[in-house]
């Protein structure tokens, strides 16, 4: 919980400490009520939100305000949800997106 900025000289201290439980790739985690998925995971030092469709390389949030779509995850079975714009809810199941089949590339590789 040390990554959370609970005290701030100008913005003041955070009083709302209601804790929610959710899961990320099956791992049970907690979030402060009002945190986005991206913020709650970062607070737990989890930066990799998904893996690139083709290369499988890890990706995290980039713009944090919904523009870039780098942070998309599957939430309660719904794919391509932006982790930076979605608040954690009690019992939420968040899963990383991973590589996708690329039959055309496989077909090409077999022949070329």
């Amino acid at each position: 919980m040390s990554r959370r900025i609970l005290q701030h000289p100008i913005l003041g201290n955070i009083k709302n400490n209601k804790i929610l439980t959710f899961s990320f790739n099956g791992q049970a985690l907690t979030a402060r009520k009002g945190e986005t998925i991206a913020a709650a995971l970062l607070a737990e030092n989890i930066r990799t939100l998904r893996f690139h469709e083709e290369s499988g390389r890890p990706r995290g949030f980039y713009c944090n305000i919904g523009h870039c779509y780098e942070c998309r995850v599957t939430v309660n079975g719904k794919p391509n949800v932006r982790a930076c714009l979605t608040l954690v809810e009690e019992g939420m199941e968040v899963v990383s997106l991973g590589t996708l089949d690329n039959p055309l590339k496989e077909w090409r590789n077999e022949r070329v």
């Binding site: 100008i10 995290g60 714009l85």
Partner: protein
């Protein structure tokens, strides 16, 4: 059916909504984010008089006023399409559709990325992302970071990160490339820095802002600027150092740096590595205009305003009947200008309903210039010139319309 639908609950959209609802119009404001306030939310800086501009409080003040006036604010609502059927605007969101008589786009700005080897690693983020994470969501972007890009936005946010107790190795330049442009050149960065040096606590820079009007003198000082950087208001500014690569296996573990000469050339043998766990890329802002493009607005590329802007007049009317714009969609400026522009758009809408005189719209438009003149910092030093160019282009298009 709403009288006005506003897209964007930032300073421009909220102030326009407040203006319209104060005269009895039925207003809907839509926004993707979970709080009203737009990018005003993250702002936190000290005014020249020492008081703090707290974006969260300013946003709350505007949103409370909007709610009190009975404005419907639908947050976490993403607009995916716009259509005009006869005189009615149809706004499609992911959840439902809305209808309105007038439409105002107050969608704000987007950050320009600067691609650098390794920039897709988790832990690399835009400078605005770090601001929102720190000030709005209250989670540290990391333990120790580096900012790539030295400009007015990155300096302001670096101060905010420092205030929240987040350690920065430095603010440095990106490696020179076709995309990084002037962001990678010490001279333009230094000249730009001098244009807002009145904010700096460092006496050398403060003196420089007043004295270094001559290019040859700037070159001399730039040549003497220390390689290791200069601490300005407690921020380590490395104007003559560039990040060449972001390194790490599955996340950011560090960066490769190289020192530059005064002309931006890499100094052989000066390559070195520094350990950081997050990297912010600050490539500047450009107007977020996609929705205006969907409905056939005329556009112009105006460098001083940050990129392509929908053509508009002093009353924030666009070339499309019944469509208005306000805030950073019309050019990159501060929140106070956006608030003033929102008021103009709101009054122009009220005038179109026959509720107020044109004189009132005119007065509000004049007030925008005043706010702009008194703004403590400007994102582009020639913003007024850019605005004049828009008005000239508007004149040309309107003349064509009349002669046709």
């Amino acid at each position: 059916m709403y009288d006005v639908i506003i897209i964007g609950a930032g300073p421009a959209g909220l102030s326009a909504g407040i203006t319209c609802a104060s005269s009895g119009l039925h207003v809907l404001i839509l926004d993707e984010f979970m709080y009203a306030g737009g990018r005003l939310l993250g702002q936190l800086y000290q005014e020249p008089d020492g008081t703090w501009w707290n974006g969260i409080e300013e946003s709350k003040r505007l949103a409370d006023k909007a709610y009190t006036l009975g404005i419907d604010i639908h947050l976490q609502t993403t607009v995916i399409n716009l259509e005009k059927q006869n005189e009615t605007w149809i706004v499609y969101t992911e959840k439902t559709t809305y209808q309105g008589k007038k439409l105002l786009l107050a969608t704000g700005a987007c950050e320009s990325p600067i691609p650098i080897p390794g920039w897709t690693l988790p832990g690399v983020m835009s400078i605005g992302a770090a601001q929102v994470m720190t000030n709005v969501h209250r989670v540290k972007p990391g333990e120790k970071g580096i900012i790539i890009g030295i400009n007015v936005l990155s300096l302001a946010i670096a101060m905010e990160l420092k205030l929240a107790g987040i350690e920065l190795y430095s603010l440095a330049l990106p490696l020179a490339s076709e995309i990084s442009g002037d962001h990678a050149k010490p001279k333009p960065v230094f000249t730009n820095l001098l244009s807002f040096s009145h904010m700096a606590q460092n006496p050398l820079l403060r003196w420089g802002g007043k004295t270094l009007r001559f290019s040859w003198l700037q070159n001399l000082v730039l040549r003497m600027y220390p390689k290791k950087g200069l601490s300005v208001a407690g921020l380590p500014l490395q104007i003559k150092t560039a990040v060449t690569e972001i390194i790490g296996e599955d996340k950011v573990e560090g960066v490769k740096l190289v020192h530059l000469d005064a002309n931006g050339g890499a100094i052989p043998g000066s390559e070195h590595e520094v350990k950081v766990d997050f990297v912010c890329i600050a490539g500047g802002l450009y107007p977020l205009v996609e929705l205006a493009a969907l409905v056939g607005c005329v556009f112009n590329y105006i460098d001083e305003l940050g990129g392509y802007v929908p053509l508009h007049n002093e009353y924030m009317e666009t070339t499309v009947e019944g469509l208005y714009v306000a805030g950073n969609i019309t050019g990159i400026e501060g929140a106070k200008v956006a608030i003033a522009q929102g008021t103009v758009a709101g009054k122009a809408i009220l005038h179109s309903f026959g509720l107020i005189s044109e004189k009132e719209v005119e007065d509000a438009a004049r007030f925008v210039h005043e706010v702009r003149k008194n703004a403590p910092i400007q994102f582009h030093p020639n913003i007024e010139m850019g605005k004049r160019r828009v008005m000239e282009e508007w004149g040309k298009v309107m003349k064509k319309k009349i002669t046709n």
